[in-house]
Amino acid sequence: MRAFDYIPAKTVDEAVALLAEKGDQAKPLSGGTDLIVMVREGRRQLDLMVDVKDIPETNVLSYSQETGLHLGAAVPCYQIYADDEISAAYPGLADAAKIIGGTAIQGRASVGGNLCNASPAADTIPPLIVLEAVCVIAGPNGTRDVPAEQFCTGPGQTVLENGEFLVSFKIPAPKNNSSSYYLRFIPRNEMDIAVVGAGASVVLDTEKTSFVSARIGLAAVAPTPLFAEEASASLAGREVSDEAVNAAAEAARHIARPISDMRGTIEQRVHLVEVLTRRALNGAIHRVKES
């Protein structure tokens, strides 16, 4: 591993200044479960790692039924699923946080890092998309907000400009009769990368018999995680039924444009999009009905 500098930033401004100065030779470091591995394996060469996990804004974790969730980009996964209130409000996000890597990884890995790594297979991105998460980005020109589904632009590529870094997420408070669900397909039970991932959120009417709205997010079926917009829209106003769910799953299948690699084939991934979307929707519906 080539030597590089390490600076723990104390404030957002300090981090922005350091990142802006070094350009693409610098990267923000949070849990490090992707970045350190990449640098050690020589897949990425850096002059500087700016540790952002000492900055108060990246460590915030606050939830209220009125304002929703404010989640710092450096908050490790386990803090999310260990919080009963947050897990109950955003079960789809907790589903993902619980399955990233393995138990040890979850003590370190952050949702912010998972998003910034911009893997098409990232587990927390479909839940962020279906929960309408907004990414708060700090940069030389102040802060800006970007919806989660617009954050990734390609494998390993994001909207972050020179000097910018992800500070936190704002996730709206859950609506009445709503819930969410995330699942992925892996051949193993842990320590694996999704062959396909699917997240869903649903809002049902007061009788819990019709959809008010729904959102479907997909992983590992395109260069970036996808928001399945048409499939999601198809459910609004429809009666909760196998037909409606199956039709949405079928629609989700149509936007998948995966590749074949050592983790899975195109045919398998396209097939799994439908299966997993159906299971994610049914999982979310089941949670609403149970609540």
Binding site: F185, N189, E190, M191, I193, E267, Q268, H271
Partner: protein, 765 residues
């Protein structure tokens, strides 16, 4: 069965404390003063000519102490590729530097110019005339062409009339036979018993299929590492993590032309081997060469990625197989044609193809096996080398036959199994064996006879056989003056063999287990010991240790007779004391008193020795039953039950034996459903533990072990080798269970979820 006090008991391992506390010293813990760090420079391409190697820039990097290539190998034996590379990851040069980052950087600065050559990775493509050739243009005849040629040879010796006409017919046939000539063949083996064509003709049912078994890595926990230190006198010391230090010594001697007496191999505790840590491998010779050149100790330690690129995994293979049987369930004929992917060097386990015969009475058998060169690293042993592959094909076929004739698969196997005195096809007579007992034991334990299942659930059964190896070994036993005993030997501990040896010696000397300790020497200090593989250790070293303990006991009784002034026949060694039998006044002397007395008299220290060469071993069966549930939508397999029985002869330590049964079964399960080294035109595409999938603890079914004991006549206390058998049936066990669950048979391993989904789709589901 006789009553024993130490063997046969579930005792904690002698090395338990150092392992669980982390005190155990592995290869990478060796750090002699002044040590340098070695790094191997590897080929980027699977097949290419090397045009030029430029080390200039790397040599200038501060901290670099030596760079070596094939030009530095005085013996001329191939250590590095110099003109051509045959696989991605093949060693081309090595660097020694003052730290590992500098060594890595220097390795990256070595410039190698290549001319790329066409690549072949698939055995069935490699045997075609259009395939790129790795070694030469030599071709080999396939089974039919060989048959015709052999007949022609016979006929040419036959002077009777009519033969000339047959010769002409056959010659024409040979000319028109277009296929059946194979390219890139590294080795071949052929066996024929009876007449398979006749056997198939008489069969009511014949099943025929092609089975593809992937190349898998042994995935031992500890990557290869060695430290070498060459001194000015020419003496070479090598710390090696190995299954056999004596083989490392002879391997280095042979490769570098150093006399045996000038090499000392100090074995470190081994982080798993499974056959992949035998003999001189990736690190030993480069470490010695770099140390000779720099005059300093050098450690060469590979990464997990290098393990996948340049390790010596188990060969994959393609087996075309055909089995014929009668409606009433009698096997009549069995034929296999196998192509083993031996990678760039000869050495795949092609001889194991004969294991398609299993443990059954098969009157007609024909086996043709070829090793095929491809642009991959070479292969080596992996737990029962070659058997899981061959047995997967054979036990899949038997399952299919049993289903088609409507016979219970366990009953079908029991009906055809050999018993004592039956001829092994292509071999000798069966000795005392426990095939049927072992299969019945697993069926009873698993609840096979009244098995139930829900939708998409299924049960599978398979058996696999293996016979432990045997090799030479020597052991000393010494009695201390406090009456405790110490064992000195030179064999590597794998999965509790030191413990088994200790139990055996304690049993013979009637000492408590805690009063016997064991010490492993290096090759300078320990008597020769065969390598720890092939399930040999408890059989070979157990027998050796038993001889040494018996020799010690003889010496103890001799000295006691002298001390107590009685005939040696009147003595008995019991509970670590010597008692005089039948005397008017009972007399006894403790082992400690005797040892102390002996030190101060003419007796001297009490030392016994055991030296052992060969004894014939006895086949052992592993039988397994799995119950699985398949998610028909995703193809995911969940194991609900996995029961594994094994004839171990006699379990010296049942706990350690169960560990072996569980470990082997789990490795077989992983091979069946997830493990696979994948290759494309650039080489291995999954060289790491994220994408080379081995099960984690979250994936493992609870393996229920069932110990069956049919004693081996020559085993210590009847013990058979236990390490290898349990991996042999699992590939077929899993596949057969999937068939029972969802009705599709995946003959191309691993049974990945997408293959089940595709097969179900093709079945119209």
């Amino acid at each position: 069965m006789p009553e024993y006090s130490v063997v046969g008991r579930r005792l904690p391992r002698v090395d338990a404390l150092e392992k669980v506390t982390g005190a155990a010293k592995y290869g990478a813990d060796v750090h002699p003063p002044g040590m340098l760090y070695g790094k191997i420079v590897r080929s980027e391409y699977p097949h290419a000519k090397i045009l030029h190697i430029d080390t200039t820039e790397a040599e200038l990097l501060p901290g670099v102490r030596a760079i070596i290539t094939q030009a530095d190998v005085e013996s001329g034996r191939k250590v590095f590729a110099s003109d051509k590379v045959l696989y991605s990851g093949e060693p081309i040069a090595a660097v020694a530097a003052t730290d590992s980052d500098i060594a890595d950087e220097a390795a990256g600065l070595i410039k190698i110019e290549y001319e790329r050559l066409p690549v072949v990775q698939n055995v069935m493509e490699a045997i075609q005339p259009t395939a790129p050739r790795l070694h030469s243009d030599e071709t080999k005849d396939g089974p039919s062409r060989r048959g015709i040629r052999n007949r022609l040879k016979q006929l040419s010796l036959d002077e009777s009339e009519g033969s000339s006409e047959e010769i002409r017919t056959l010659e024409t046939e040979l000319e028109t036979l277009e296929e059946d000539v194979y390219y890139n063949i590294s080795a071949e083996t052929h066996t024929e018993i009876g007449d398979v064509e006749k056997g198939f003709a008489e069969s009511d049912i014949v099943v025929e299929n092609t089975y593809t078994i992937p190349r898998v890595h042994q995935t031992y926990m500890e990557p290869h590492v060695s430290v070498a230190s060459a001194d000015s006198s020419g003496k070479v010391t090598v710390w090696a993590s190995t299954q056999g230090p004596f083989a490392i010594r002879s391997g280095i001697a042979g490769t570098l032309g150093i006399p045996l007496g000038k090499i000392n191999v100090i074995p470190t505790i081994m982080g798993g081997g499974f056959g992949g840590r035998f003999g001189v491998t990736m690190t030993h010779v480069p470490a010695v060469l770099l140390s000779q050149k720099t005059g300093r100790p050098v450690r060469v330690q590979v990464t997990r990625k290098e393990e996948f690129l340049d390790g010596r995994p188990a060969p994959g293979c393609v087996i075309k197989m055909k089995t014929g049987a009668t409606k009433s369930g009698g096997i009549l004929a069995c034929q296999a044609l196998a192509f083993w992917d031996s990678g760039a060097v000869s050495g795949a386990s092609i001889g194991s193809t004969i294991r398609v015969r299993g443990v059954y009475k098969i009157p007609n058998l024909k086996v043709d096996a070829y090793g095929v060169y491809t642009n991959k690293s070479g292969t080596t042993a992996y737990r029962a080398p070659g058997a899981p592959q061959a047995i997967f094909a054979a036990e899949s076929q038997l399952d299919e036959i049993a289903r088609r004739i409507g016979m219970d698969p366990v009953e079908f196997r029991l009906k055809n199994m050999r018993e004592e005195g039956d001829m092994i096809p292509g071999g000798s007579q069966e000795p005392v064996i426990g095939y049927k007992e072992t299969l019945k034991a697993v069926a009873d334990a698993a609840g096979w006879w009244n098995r139930d299942k829900s939708h998409n659930q299924g049960w599978g059964v398979a058996v696999g056989d293996w016979t432990n190896g045997c090799g030479p070994g020597g052991v000393y036993v010494s009695i201390h003056e406090d009456g405790s005993a110490r064992i000195f030997h030179g064999s590597m501990d794998i999965t509790g063999t030191d413990t088994a040896i200790t139990q055996i010696v304690a049993e013979i000397l009637t000492l408590p287990y805690e009063r016997v300790t064991i010490t492993r020497g290096d090759t300078d200090s320990a008597p020769y010991a065969t390598g720890s593989g092939g399930s040999v250790v408890t059989f070979t070293m157990g027998n050796t240790a038993k001889l040494a303990a018996e020799d010690t006991r003889r010496r103890i009784l001799e000295l006691a007779a002298e001390r107590l002034n009685t005939e040696i026949d009147n003595f008995e060694l019991r509970d670590g004391k010597i008692f005089v039998n039948g005397a008017d006044s009972p007399k006894s002397i403790s082992l400690g008193e005797l040892a102390a007395f002996s030190l101060n008299t003419r007796g001297g220290p009490i030392v016994g020795k055991g030296s052992f060469a060969q004894q014939s071993s006895t086949p052992a069966l592993a039988a397994q039953i799995a119950k699985v549930e398949v998610d028909a939508e995703t193809g995911r397999i969940k194991v609900l039950k996995l029961v594994s029985s094994q004839d171990v002869g006699f379990a010296i330590n049942p706990m350690a034996v169960e560990g072996q049964i569980e470990g082997g079964t789990v490795q077989g399960y992983a091979w069946a459903i997830m493990e696979e080294m994948q290759y494309d035109q650039n080489g291995n595409v999954n060289p790491g533990l994220v994408d080379y999938r081995v099960p984690t603890s979250a994936d493992l079914p609870t393996v229920e072990s069932v110990i069956v004991e049919v004693p081996a006549p020559n085993g210590p206390f009847g013990a058979k080798g236990v390490g290898e058998p349990p991996i042999t049936p699992t590939l077929a066990t899993m596949s057969n269970a999937v068939v029972d669950a969802v009705g599709v048979r995946v003959n191309d391993l691993p049974i990945k979820p997408e293959k089940i989904v595709a097969a179900l789709h093709n079945n119209g589901n």
